[in-house]
Amino acid sequence: MENYKIILFLCNWGAHTAYQALQDQGYRVPPEISTVRIPCTGRISKALLFKAFEMGADGVALVGCKPGTCRYGVGTNSAINFTDDTREILAFLGLDKDRLQLVTFLPDEVDGLRNFLEMFCDEIRSFGKSSLMPTHKDLIKDDQAGTFAEILAAHNAYGCQDCGKCTSSCPLALTGKQFSPRAIAGAVIAGDMNSKEIVEDIWSCLTCGICYARCPSGVNFPDFICDIRALVKSKDDGDSHQAHGGFFQSLMRSMTSPEMKTDRWSRLPKDVKLDDKSKILFFGGCAPYFDTFFRNHLGVRTTDVLVDSLRLMNFFDVAPAVLKNERCCGHDLLWSGDRENFLKLARLNIAMIAEMGIEEVVTACPECYRTLAMDYQRFGVDVGFKVTHIYEFLEQEIDKGAVTFNPPEKAMTFQDSCRMNSFDALKDLPRKLINRISPNQFEEMKDHKDVSMCCGSSAWTGCDAYSKAMQVNRLRQARETGSNLMVTSCPKCQIHLQCAMEDPFQGNDLKMEVMDLTSVIRQTICWE
């Protein structure tokens, strides 16, 4: 028999009592089951549930107390939401939802528990082994990550003139955080691995690149941080700075399993036209995972960006192909220091795209764009196709003429994307497109373009109270323009800024409609 691994998270109260009673009766628990005794099912977050699968579990059962009998009141309710969301995400990854189940028992429901255990084991055996390969922490070899000295030399960080322009322009420092790019460079030069700068601050950096634009020595600080993170990660793990319990990093790592068959496109609306034989590929990105993860909290709808992009391509008579088994592009792994798994994802994606004979890849996500167009190549993965951002495609098509826009009813303002602003070819496009829609209904925020303020967090790393303060400041700027629609170009900006709007202490002061530019165009464009 194959070696199945089934994890049982057992609540300390009702469920564990039933489990003990079962053992007292002399019941032999199936050998594939390992139990973890927990204080309350409501504390097993999505990150922990998913982590079990990432580490090689074939099935996970969260066994708790019947609703209403929870020792802490709301534990079971939280568990229901966590389990539902994680089940949806498993489905996107091509795993059967029922590999994860939430069941509840009263202390005396011994037979019920026994029946469940038997049934669950049978069910998992019928699904077969999970296609997720446990990702071992293969630490990057030291020679690959380089040394402090090599990284410093590669980015010319020894050229630091100690002028402090980086710190005085850094959005984090301006928000009040004790954070200084210059001090980080200094600490790396001093080589002290245990300094606060290296242990903590490198994970707070937003990698937005404003300091790079200001630096008189031209030190590419975001890339420098990216390398330093990889080096630190190769020695120690640095995972404690990840946001959302490391769920997204875990999700991305799990996608490096070669056997995995993702199922992320099957829920597209029927009217979207795709063509398997097209030489143009639409690369979606992680939006479906984000929307599922945040659905009970923010009502985030970033998948709309993908659907609207596809519809706009259809509008201009392009029916693209999609990558059936698309993985994450790896952006957030690269920027949280996990270079090895980033490269695995890169190679998997590129091999699949090459097999389809694709000549051009269109994407609507600035992070996917940067990663595909620049970072794959930078880390030695050859890309044999042209990468186009959907805005480039739209600008080119709209410029041919004969299309016009129904002016939107809203007054707009625009949140810049840091990844898009790092490309000269892209940075002016969103405003060009907005001007085509309606120049009179657009107002800039105080900080915009090259000195735009970040949405507060990057690569699911280092989110803290200062991130929140920055988001609140940004939303205030947006409200000051008198606009009632914030146009974004990155799904992360949308998620992070909407998160800050939920603040109960601010009431409705920060509330504002947020919509991606692609969706704005989709709603307003028409033939002349």
Partner: protein, 198 residues
């Protein structure tokens, strides 16, 4: 006067202000038809006060058969690049003839169906206002289909000053794509699709 029995005969009047390159545009159309598409073509350009800055016109006939008489009374295709030229020639256009205009320079009667392109504005964006005529040729090629694209490109390249070929071809392509897009937009609208499906 003209023999309308001649097969596949297209009579074109290109008109605008003197200095817009109207005559050159007419010449390129005729040249493309004659040299590129191996058809017959004639060109008559208006002399006189027009060439001093007033309304200016080129009369082009493109035909599969020999053309007996080069003057045009009622064109099939009217390309207007100024309001005064439009006013002067519009009544002569055949009822089912095609009207092409520069969107910013000509305001046609409201009930008049026409294909318009901001050719002069586009030329300015490309860096040279004087290329408006080449954009118009591209637009005409796409919309009216009287000459083939390859022939038109060849004629443009051989007619413009040396060193500006690439720029002019870019202008031609711009006008041509605008024309194609216009036709596509009309087809989509006719089929009932105006915006992106929700």
């Amino acid at each position: 006067m003209t023999n309308t029995n001649e097969k596949n005969r297209q009579e074109i009047i290109v008109t605008g202000f003197g200095g817009q390159g109207i005559i050159l545009a007419g010449r390129i159309l005729g040249q493309a038809a004659a040299l590129g598409d191996s058809k017959e073509s004639t060109l008559v350009q208006s002399y006189g006060p027009e060439s001093r800055g007033g309304a200016c016109a080129a009369q082009v006939i493109i035909s599969e058969d020999i053309i007996q008489y080069p003057y045009i009374k009622t064109p099939d295709l009217l390309v207007c690049m100024s309001q005064s030229a439009y006013d002067k020639y519009i009544d002569e256009l055949k009822p089912d003839g095609i009207l092409l205009t520069d969107q910013d320079l000509v305001k046609p009667a409201e009930d008049r169906d026409c294909f318009s392109i901001p050719a002069t504005r586009m030329a300015e964006e490309l860096g040279r206002k004087m290329m408006a005529n080449i954009i118009m040729i591209g637009f005409t090629t796409a919309v009216a289909g009287v000459i083939s694209v390859d022939a038109a490109k060849e004629a443009v390249t051989s007619s413009v000053p040396r060193g500006t070929e690439k720029m002019n071809l870019q202008a031609f392509t711009k006008g041509y794509e605008y024309g194609l897009s216009k036709l596509k937009g009309r087809a989509k609208k006719a089929s009932g699709q105006t915006g992106v499906m929700a």
